[in-house]
């Protein structure tokens, strides 16, 4: 395991420590406003995308599903939520292939993964 993980708050293995470090390093020394701002944006923006993906699955709308998953994939990758990003990528691929049915389970897993990510970020936010 990456030694940094030990010195960081418990990331539960759902958020990548290295990404978090690089996000923090963007901030001015002693002022984590930007980092907190990024977390807030991510946490407030993502539920709507999950909703959209869920609704698209229910409606059998492959393209809508692909679009919602694509958006969430890139923002979660940027925030270091790699597990979530990988789930989203699988949904996106299914959407591109027009396979909506198989995605229901992946969307459900994304929702619970997002809850874990949220818990970690809220802890980091302090």
């Amino acid at each position: 395991m990456d030694p940094k993980t030990d010195s960081s708050p418990d990331l539960d293995g759902v958020v990548d420590a290295e990404t978090i470090e690089s996000l923090k390093s963007l901030c001015d020394p002693g002022d984590l406003t930007l980092f907190h701002d990024l977390i807030d944006t991510f946490l407030s923006d993502s539920p709507a995308r999950l909703e959209a993906a869920q609704a698209a699955v229910a409606a059998g709308d492959a393209e809508g599903m692909e679009r919602a998953a694509h958006g969430l994939k890139s923002s979660s990758a940027n925030m270091g939520a790699l597990g979530l990003a990988s789930l989203c990528k699988q949904i996106e691929m299914l959407g591109r292939g027009g396979q909506v049915a198989g995605a229901a389970e992946l969307v459900a897993r994304s929702r619970s993964e997002f809850e874990r990510v949220r818990a970690v970020f809220l802890r980091l936010r302090g």
Partner: protein, 650 residues
């Protein structure tokens, strides 16, 4: 003027419609273009489409069905009008900014737009011609000023430095003539003719700034109507674009036009209110600056109160406007090499956009952002960024479509475009380059790679700027050469002593007019007892007499006439499109004006008279020399019968 215009056109710097506007112009040079062709061409430009549809609806009478597509707009307005409107709008998009430092490009369009809507509104209310014709004529009424700023950016800045906010169009034309041997009115008219716009447009914009008393007698009905509309509209526009506090002081100069367009004060005030609203509305559509305007009843009421202090106020506003100009021009003098670039970042994912902006902030460049392709396109049109960084997959309009649209417009050709691509789009990267992307960066991006890509883009942008600065310098030199040419040309055509045309020019001009028009008249004129002045009072006095005589003649001919000194004390006046009666009237006017003019020089003080001969082109005359000879013989008849008189050729 034709020759001068061709020289300027060769510099490649005259304003010309961009993109779709140019396509439509070429398309409609042919006589047999179809309305369908025009509609199809317009549709390739979404912004233009919207504006044309708005035009069709706003030019229509109330209660008529609202138009929602280009085809219907073309049917309602007519193909020719749509073509003219497209031309005007595409000029606005291409010339929002430029190289002349003291020329206020935004202010110029704001004023032109105010003139356009004022022309349209009054034309619609008073049924003076087609409102859309009036609109486009108003919009292009000052195009010669823009053209001079484009062709001679440095020299025109010097010209503008000699003006104040109260300088009239006519005074400006005078200063321009000193600097360029031509003015914006002539140049604008030549450009309109070059674009094959209707001749009355050109005629109206060439003459509207002049004194009504000097209006050419041969104007047709449409030109005269457009000229009147332009006069009213430019007064209203001056009030609208000026400082709000100064509007009451300007109102009396606007109000006097009410009776000229046959409106009661009440109707005129309501019309002005409507014009102000339309101006703001169109300003939004065309992204042109406008300002808030109080109801005109209030402006008129305050005008009555402040009329006493009006003079002082004008002086104050002039001062503050001048100092505003100073502050505006300061940033432009900063070395372009260290001026930050403008970067537009577009991403629908707020996290990604925030990160992008955070990294870019360190570069010190000016940043703008947008959250989807459509907003991105809008921002690009508004700010004209040097670099665009855009995501690919976005709702509304994706990155690929955005890039295609941007590359289609003139302003977008030089923008350096970087596209962020996800791994899954890697196999489609070729498609992105084909759409016009300059570089791609894969997501999630590595900040260091992204920033080095941005700085390599910056290098390209700077290089391109350097190339275009060099080109501009070269074009400046070509334009300077054109001025010099015109000067030389003018001096070889000008009589050094009297500054009117010389014999060489006179003979050539007579031949020109002979080939152009059937109704042509010539007045020959010989000063009486001139030799006596020379012998008694010296050659200095003689020279002064010639100079003043030339001045009196020039001041008393019609605008279209040419005065030339043929040699010694002999002058010729060429009168195109003159009936025998008109020619006689002019000749008689010249005779009395000369006789009434007192000349003082040294020991000489007195009147000078002339013997005049008038000849009008007749059916049987074979060449211009016959006309000239007939007039000359009539002069002889005048001399024989006692001088100081007008004789008609037999």
């Amino acid at each position: 003027m034709k020759k001068t215009f061709d020289e300027l056109k060769l510099t490649g710097n005259l304003p010309s419609p961009a993109g779709v506007g140019m396509k439509i112009l070429t398309l409609t040079q042919k006589e047999d273009f179809s309305a369908d062709d025009i509609a199809k061409t317009i549709q390739t430009d979404p912004a233009l489409t919207g504006r044309i549809i708005k035009m069709a609806n706003s030019a229509a009478a109330a209660g008529v069905k609202v138009i929602t597509n280009v085809n219907d707009a073309v049917v309602r307005l007519g193909a020719r009008t749509v073509r003219n409107v497209a031309l005007g709008f595409s000029l606005i998009s291409a010339y929002r900014q430029g190289g002349c430092k003291t020329f206020d490009y935004q202010g110029y369009w704001s004023e032109s737009l105010a003139r356009a809507v004022a022309c349209q509104t009054i034309s619609a209310r008073k049924r003076m011609g087609a409102p859309s014709d009036a609109y486009i004529c108003g919009l292009l009424s000052g195009i010669g000023r823009l053209a001079l700023a484009c062709v001679h950016p440095q020299a025109y800045a010097d010209v503008l430095a000699r003006t104040t906010p109260t300088t009239s169009d006519l005074e400006l034309a005078g200063i321009e003539h000193q600097a360029f041997e031509m003015d914006h009115r002539e140049l604008g008219a030549a450009m309109l003719r070059d674009w094959h716009l209707p001749d009355p447009y050109a005629h109206a914009i060439e003459t509207f700034a002049g004194n009504p008393a000097d209006d050419p007698a041969n104007s047709d009905r449409v030109s005269s109507m457009l000229r009147l509309l332009l006069r009213v509209s430019s007064a209203i526009a001056r009030l609208l674009i000026g400082d709000a506090s100064n509007r009451p002081a300007l109102w009396p100069q606007v109000e006097v036009w009410a009776k000229e367009v046959q409106m009661s004060t009440q109707e005129f005030v309501a019309t002005c209110d409507q014009i102000a609203r339309e101006w703001q509305d169109w300003g939004k559509t065309l992204a042109i600056r406008t300002s808030k305007v109080d109801p005109f009843t209030d402006i008129a009421a305050r005008a009555a109160e402040v009329s006493q202090q009006a003079v002082e106020q004008v002086a104050c506003t002039a001062d503050s406007a001048a100092s505003d100009d100073d502050s505006d021009s300061t940033p432009a003098t900063v070395d372009p090499a260290i001026e930050p670039l403008t970067i537009l970042a577009i991403d629908d994912d707020p996290v990604c956009l925030k990160l992008l902006l955070t990294h870019l902030k360190r570069t010190g460049h000016t940043l703008i952002s947008a959250q989807n392709g459509k907003a991105g396109l809008q921002a690009a049109l508004e700010h004209g960024p040097h670099v665009i960084i855009t995501d690919w997959m976005m709702p509304e309009m994706d990155g690929l479509e955005l890039v295609k649209q941007i590359r289609r417009i003139e302003l977008g050709k030089d923008i350096h475009i970087l596209m962020l691509t996800g791994r899954e789009e890697e196999d489609r990267v070729v498609e992105a380059f084909e759409a016009g992307v300059d570089d791609v960066v894969t997501k999630p991006f590595n900040p260091r790679i992204l920033l080095s890509r941005v700085s390599s883009g910056e290098r390209i942008v700077r290089l391109r700027e350097q190339v275009s600065t060099d080109r501009r310098k070269m074009e400046d030199q070509v334009a300077e050469l054109a001025i010099l040419n015109r000067r030389l040309n003018n001096s070889s055509n000008t009589d050094v002593l009297t500054q009117v045309a010389n014999r060489r020019y006179g003979v050539a001009e007579l031949e020109d007019q002979w080939n152009k028009t059937q109704s042509l008249a010539v007045i020959m004129l010989d000063l009486d007892h001139f030799k006596l002045v020379n012998d008694t009072h010296g050659h200095d006095a003689g020279d002064q007499v010639l100079r003043e005589a030339a001045k009196v003649l020039s001041a008393n001919v019609r605008k279209s006439d040419t005065v030339c000194r043929m040699g010694g004390e002999e002058f010729m006046v060429i009168l195109p499109d003159a009936t025998p009666d008109e020619a006689r009237t002019v000749a008689e006017r010249l005779r009395t004006a000369l006789a009434a003019h007192v000349i003082r020089h040294g020991s000489f003080e007195g009147h000078i008279t002339a013997s005049l001969g008038v000849a009008v082109r007749q059916q049987g005359m074979e060449h211009s020399a016959a006309l000239y000879k007939a007039a000359d013989e009539a002069v002889y008849a005048s001399k024989q019968t006692g001088r100081n008189r007008v004789s008609f050729a037999a």
